[in-house]
Amino acid sequence: MTFPVLSIITFTPLVAALILLLMPVNRKNEARVVALASATFALILSLWVYFNYDQSIAGYQFVEKYEWLPALGISLHFGVDGIGAPLVLLTGVVMFTGVLISWGDDNPHVMAGIQDRPREFFAFLFILAWGVLGVFVSLDLFMLIFFYEIAVFPMYLLIVIWGWSVTREYAAMKLTLYLLIGSVVSLVGALAMYFAQYQNTGVLTFNMLTMESARFSPSFQIIWFLPVFLGFAVLGGIWPLHNWSPDGHVAAPTAVSMFHAGVLMKLGAFAALRVGIMLLPEGAKYWQWLIMAFAAIAVVYGAYIAFVQKDFKYMVGFSSVSHMGLVMLGFSTLNADGLLGSGLQMFSHGAMTALFFAVVGMIYDRAHTRQIPELGGMSKAMPFATVGFIIGGLVSMGMPLFSGFIAEFPIFMGVWQVHWFVAVICSISIVITAAYIMRNIRQVFFGDMPEKFEGHITDITILDKVAITTLCIFMIVIGAYPKFMAPMVQTGVEYIMRLLGGS
């Protein structure tokens, strides 16, 4: 019996959430300490998993399996491959930084972090993290959906309770309903697969490793691929089902936006890949053109809409749509390069967008506005955040030596192999992205500071700096030294390519 590291990672947030809920109501600082301690613990463990993943063996590692409901073939079956391991790491990182960002600041000018009921906030956040981690490590389809849904509902509460008071009720409900529709549609598809594989193999099981070799008939795959893929892809922000995402981002409190864009959207993409493409490869091939068209539209359209936004957070929100479009674009290529890029882009975008939302949150907490034209000169007051945002911006633009480039380049290479025209069209987004990122950096951080802000804007706290640094390190390391992550993702991609080629 090896050390059950994956289940420990997965259940750490749950345990932390329970401890938090059992704590007395008014112990705010203790709640924060508990939250930080458990987030750090999870981060360390996820780093351990990441570095101990044996790339020479590849495949699923750290596998654990406990029978859960043998009658229906449900088991707690955990394991990570080259695509899952980076995402587990990403979750650890975002959890850690999210807790730091939400710590709270007693400065009366700055209503940063979470002042109101931090105990509940962290508890719900950790339940969310529990679901997220569960999805990334589950090798059992039922459990994957189980955890997937767990990740959905805390969002509602987190947004509705701690969100931006203007739109939170609308946004939270919209988000939850969209995601719920998506997930239940996927659930129906998953159940169909469950019974179809029973017909084919005579084994009643939700084990995805078995399902991979279930040999679903092509017509079955063609029928069910779209519901399954799109159902999950809703959470990945695929066009035209992306509408919930910017609203949700804007309404959510900072740490939740970070989690939402940084990790949760990956959840949709990951599940769409894991269940949609890997289990229904023939369906994926059949519908490739449609997914690619959706993704291409998302890439360009998202970038353009981001370009015309006046609200800082909406801009970041739509840029997420654009970047997640790239992930989907990589999926839709169904070749090694594209999938490699998508795997990397999921991590890269997660870190980048978490950083964006963190900085936007810091600015909003101090300036109490997010209207880009009303902001200015933040670099004087908060230089560290400025540098962080610029690095994030460079990642977003796909600037070489940052992780964005490392991720986007293979995606485009993959697209070239499918259709040159799509590659050309999508590349337009790079220029648009560069334009809006640079324009906003100039306006928000370097423009003249409006008089009403003079003296009111304080620098960010040391905890914020730690969070920003952590995120930046990952983006730069991957960008300058792709070997940190690319070979690992590649092992995962090779596995997927075998599934795609073998059927």
Binding site: D337, L340, L394, M397, M399, P400, L401, F405, I406, F409, P410, F412, M413, W416, Q417, W420, A423, V424, S427, I428, I430, V431, A434, A435, M438, R439, R442, F446, Y481, P482, K483, A486, P487, V489, Q490
Partner: protein, 507 residues
């Protein structure tokens, strides 16, 4: 010492960046320390590149000092460094101009730390382009240079800097977009980015096979134009030049020096390093168009320059004019690949790149010196300054003459070689371009007249506006440039030898 001798290029390449990272931990109040540290950090690569200049064996074909490191295995890309005569010349130019530019920016007082760091990053970016023998890494460095330049213009530039920096960014990013796509195309087709392997496989493709559903010739034509446009914007070739006057005018002095001195050469270098070897057929086919654009750049650049009233803008347009000659030489070489005439033209083009680097950097610096004292760049507001600042005047005249192509100075040698080489190949274009030379003379003389001669503008002669003479630091910046201009003008063999052999072997 063994480590140094086996890692020359990577040391030159990464030292500036490492120094910049190190600077992160220096206190930002210690302005003097920061300045001297940056200068020192940029001098080491210069010394190293001088050292490899002497170790370089020009008679051996191929690339020397090669190094290779794993980078992005998944895509088959490695950090493959190496220099030949062509890139070595450019490396030398870069490592020479960077310390000078840093020395020239000792008058910067605002955010010195960030400024110096950006400059050092910029140097790494530029050097990387010249050294890399891997297409993907080439592109990485190509883009990396962009961002520091953007911030240098945007943060330390003059009044209209926002517009100019944005324009610069969008133009160059838009241009490199095509480059990016074309590089991806090549990578997809050959699963390697190594330039040497790529050149061989790409040129030996069967013309009747199909790639990605298109015929080889179509693919090649598309890729050729994608490369060409990217480099043309960077050079810049008319009509893609409109970002240049704005960027130059608004950039801080040292930024303009590097921009004109090195960044423009990146485009020309791209033509020589990538387009001519990778697309010989297309280059021949489209050489006429290229020559036309080059001629247009020469003529319109000169005319536009003549029409300026802003001193810095005038110098900026002169860059368009001068770089036009480089492109003319390249076009000639593309058309008549391998002939002795083409070789001569190429020699001229490469030398012109080096020379323009020297003279443009010098000119921008001198404009900057004047601007710093007078806070105006309007030619109408100067006049008769020679009497006030004779040493400055002398230096300005000297540098202008080098730029103008006065025999005995460096500009003459290179322009003569280009014209001589192109004449038999592209007679009409060359003839028209020679007209451009007249205009060159005209605008430079106009500038000299407006600034130094004519009636003295009394405003500058006394009181708080009294013009002060060029100081020692500034002379130190100019000294190496003047020395080289003179040296190449009188005895070009030392550099032409290296260039010529490289050209002979390459083409």
């Amino acid at each position: 010492m063994d480590f140094i001798s086996t890692h020359f290029l990577s040391l030159i390449l990464f030292l500036p960046a490492l120094a910049a990272v190190f600077m992160l931990f220096l206190p930002k109040e210690e302005i003097k320390l920061l300045r001297w540290f940056a200068l020192g950090a940029s001098l080491i690569p210069f010394l190293l590149s001088v050292s490899i200049w002497f170790q370089f064996k020009s008679s051996i074909p191929g690339f020397q000092f090669q190094e290779r490191y794993e980078w992005y295995e998944a895509l088959g890309s490695t950090v493959h460094l190496g220099v030949d005569g062509l890139s070595l010349t450019m490396v030398l130019l870069t490592t020479l101009l960077t310390p000078l530019a840093i020395l020239a920016s000792f008058n910067i007082t605002d955010k010195v730390k960030a400024y110096m760091m950006l400059f050092l990053f910029l140097e790494t970016g530029m050097l990387g382009v010249f050294m890399s023998l891997d297409l993907l890494v080439f592109f990485v460095f190509w883009e990396v240079g962009l961002i520091p330049m953007y911030f240098l213009i945007n943060q330390w530039g003059s009044a209209n800097r926002n517009y100019a920096s944005m324009k610069f960014l969008i133009f160059t990013m838009g241009g490199s977009l095509g480059l990016l796509l074309a590089i991806q195309l090549l990578g997809v087709l050959f699963e390697t980015y190594d330039l040497l392997a790529l050149t061989q496989r790409w040129t030996s493709l069967q013309p009747d096979s199909t790639l990605l559903g298109m015929s080889v010739s179509t693919v090649k034509a598309i890729a050729f134009w994608a490369f060409t446009i990217a480099f043309a914007i960077k050079v810049p070739i008319w009509p893609f030049h409109t970002w240049l006057p704005d960027a130059h005018t608004e950039a801080p002095t040292a930024g303009s020096m590097i921009l004109a001195g090195v960044l423009l050469k990146l485009g020309a270098y791209g033509f020589l390093r990538l387009i001519l070897p990778l697309y010989p057929v297309e280059a021949r086919y489209f050489a006429g168009a290229l020559a036309f654009l080059a001629t247009a750049a020469i003529i319109f650049g000169a005319l536009a320059s003549f029409a300026q009233t802003d001193f810095k803008r005038l110098v900026a347009y002169s860059s368009v004019n001068h770089m036009g000659f480089v492109v003319l030489g390249i076009a000639a070489a593309g058309l008549a690949h391998g002939t002795p005439d083409a070789t001569i033209a190429l020699n001229g083009a490469i030398l012109q790149m080096f020379n323009h680097g020297l003279s443009a950097a010098g000119m921008f610096f001198l404009v900057g010196v004047l601007y710093e004292r007078t806070h105006t760049r309007n030619l109408e507001e100067y006049g008769g300054l020679f009497t006030l600042v004779p040493i400055y005047g002398g230096i300005l005249i000297f540098t202008s003459m080098a730029s103008l192509g006065l025999p005995g100075l460096n500009g003459f040698i290179s322009e003569f070689l280009i014209v001589r080489g192109s004449w038999p190949i592209l007679t009409i274009y060359t003839a028209v371009s020679m007209l451009g030379l007249f205009f060159t003379g005209a605008y430079i003389l106009k500038a000299l007249k407006k600034v130094l001669h004519g009636p003295l503008n009394e405003h500058w002669s006394h009181g708080e506006h009294k013009l002060t003479e060029i100081n020692t630091r500034e002379m130190l910046v100019m000294a190496p440039l003047i020395l080289l201009m003179l040296w190449i003008g009188i005895y070009p063999a030392w550099i032409l030898d290296v260039i010529n052999k490289a050209v002979m072997m390459l083409f």
